[in-house]
Amino acid sequence: MTTPMLEIRDLHVRIEEREILKGVNLVVPKGEVHAIMGRNGSGKSTLSYVLAGKEDYEVTGGEVLLDGVNILEMEPSERATAGLFLAFQYPIEIPGVATMTFLKAALNAKRKANGEGELSTPDFMRAVKEAGSALHIDSDMLKRALNVGFSGGEKKRAEILQMALLKPKMCILDETDSGLDIDALQVVSHGVNALRDPNRSMLVITHYQRLLNHIVPDVVHVFSDGRVVESGGKELALELEAKGYAGFDEVAA
């Protein structure tokens, strides 16, 4: 049996006194795209932050294996260079940090971790231009400070651009559809679909079914009250859309 790309075993997480994740179990095999659906406040975003290594959360139990390696003790930067990527629901605006400087630093960090030398400027420019054109990202946008003054759609496209450049093994997309109009949703979805690969897995976290029309998942998990309560094929998303989350709360209870 091959090692799954991501395996979460009985993950318990709390913020201060409140338990947010109450025993999450999830396996994403290599090359598959899984979706997590759940209502607001069910713990979906917490899961994404915990996987990426945000400090504010206390992991009280469980394991997270990325390609067979437990990442819970790793720094966020180590998780990233190990191949994990979180596309943020709300990408952070950082005035004074040029987008290109940031992209180069991120790419070189990954190369350094892999024992490779720094990318030459022409090679770097070429890579950004290629990845950018598919996402309708022009050089004007790249000249600005990181995410500063970007529209909602631009921010999400910039996230996918980073993903395309960093070529992670495991992508977590947190509410990537939020704040997107139909056109932007299509561009972003195309960008994501273009990155589907037998050696890359994705976990698409969403509130609405509509994103899953564009990024069609292999498996859908329903998240409720800090755990996965139901898993199934993509039709599960449609069922959710029809019945709402209420029907699944009873399963949880």
Binding site: A52, G53, E75, S77, A80, F88, I94, V97
Partner: protein, 402 residues
């Protein structure tokens, strides 16, 4: 009846009084003897209590015999040097520059001990007359060399109507507990455009005082960048005077303080006539057990209608023991002005750090990126590439812990 309680004088005050008396500055000596050095009760020195902080004053510096390495080199700059207060001979001046010297100091008299000391003790000043568009960066390199010495210096710069120049002043010297007290008088003619940068790279144990007086005529445009990076105790005083309609200054400054340092930038600005504007922006980065002080006083005269002045101070604390002390003062006598002040202070933003590290960038590098980002606003407007590079090197050196 006012009760006169004699002030107890410490060794620093006694030494200064001795030096003032020897220089024939009887009134200044008496004044210091009566009041002592300013304490926190003197508003302008509220966070920089000189009586407490200035414990010893070295002997007046003699002539410099050897020179240390230049503190900062800028490719293509025209260099002038004042060593231990003495204006040094220089090579051929570039077009539009007349270099000279004259007796005495340059500052306007005011009720301020640092100013008074400079006025009383400075023997000669460097004079610069700049006409037209002066091409190379002009660097005034002020050194205090040899054994620990009390050294005062002065420079007087006139920029003719319509002229433009970039002036860099650097302060450094041998590694000793010097007391430097430096003055600059910079007058901008009508429509003149000047960038004035000062970089305090004084020795670790040194005390550094600098007073910069700016006079802006009609339509004059000034940008300053005042960097305090050296010295155990530093205070840079800025006195911009907006004296002609349309005069504008971006007065910017930066305190970089590490363990054991105390750096102060104090601005006392006067908008004297209608239709002038200023955008003072001061930043401080403090690490270790250190103190950074920013005081900004904006005085708008009664006639100075339509003054537009916005004072901003931002602090970044990189340790729990660091202190950043900020005090704005607005004194507005006109009734049709737009004046404001703001202040922020904090640590590096956790969300931004997480975002950068989540992309594989190591925490230390991510922190450096954010610090650079914090400073970009100050350094980016410096257009001269070689100068920008030199200033960036000063900042990077500090960040790297040098």
């Amino acid at each position: 009846m006012t009760m006169h309680v004699p002030v107890r004088l410490g060794p620093a005050e006694l030494k200064l009084i001795e030096q003032l008396s020897a220089a024939g500055a009887v009134a200044a000596a008496e004044r210091l003897g009566g009041a002592g050095l300013p304490t926190r009760r003197v508003e302008a020195y509220h966070y920089t209590d000189l009586k407490l902080l200035l414990r010893a004053v070295p002997e007046l510096a003699g002539a410099a015999e050897a020179a240390s390495a230049p503190a900062l080199r800028v490719a293509g700059a025209y260099q002038l040097m004042i060593a231990n207060g003495v204006v040094q001979e220089t090579g051929t001046a570039p077009a539009g520059v007349i270099v000279g010297k004259s007796a005495g100091s340059v500052l306007t008299t005011r009720d301020d001990v640092v100013t008074r000391l400079n006025l009383a003790l400075t023997r000669e000043c460097l004079t610069l007359d700049l006409d037209g568009s002066v091409d190379p960066v002009i660097q005034i390199d002020r050194r205090t060399e040899g054994a620990a010495g009390h050294s005062t210096s002065a420079a007087k710069i006139f920029v003719a109507d319509g002229g433009s120049a970039v002036i860099l002043e650097t302060y450094s010297g041998s590694e000793a507990a010097h007391l430097g007290n430096h003055a600059t008088y910079l007058a901008l003619g009508k429509g003149a455009k000047v960038t004035h940068i000062t970089v305090n790279l004084a020795a670790k144990a040194a005390t550094h005082f600098a007073s910069n007086e700016y006079h802006l005529a009609e339509g004059a445009q000034l940008r300053t960048l005042i960097i305090n990076a050296g010295g155990a105790l530093s205070r840079t005083q800025l006195f911009p005077r907006y004296e002609g309609a349309g005069a504008h200054a971006d007065v910017t400054g930066l305190n970089l303080v590490s363990d054991g340092q105390h750096s102060d930038i104090t601005m006392d600005a006067l908008h004297a006539v209608p239709h002038t504007s200023s955008k003072p922006l001061f930043k401080s980065i403090a690490r270790g057990r250190s103190k950074a002080v920013v005081q900004g006083r904006l005085v708008v005269a009664r006639d100075a209608q339509k003054t537009d002045a916005k004072l901003m101070s931002q602090g970044l604390m990189l340790s729990d023991e660091a202190e950043i002390l900020v005090k704005p003062e607005l004194e507005i006598y006109a009734d049709d002005v737009v004046c404001g002040h703001g202040s922020t202070c904090g640590r590096l933003d956790d969300e931004s750090l997480f975002y950068l590290t989540s992309r594989g960038i190591e925490k230390g590098e991510a922190e450096t990126m954010l610090v650079r980002a914090f400073l970009a606003e100050l350094v980016d407007p410096i257009e001269d590439a070689a100068l920008n590079e030199a200033l960036t090197a000063v900042i990077e050196g500090w960040l790297a812990g040098k």
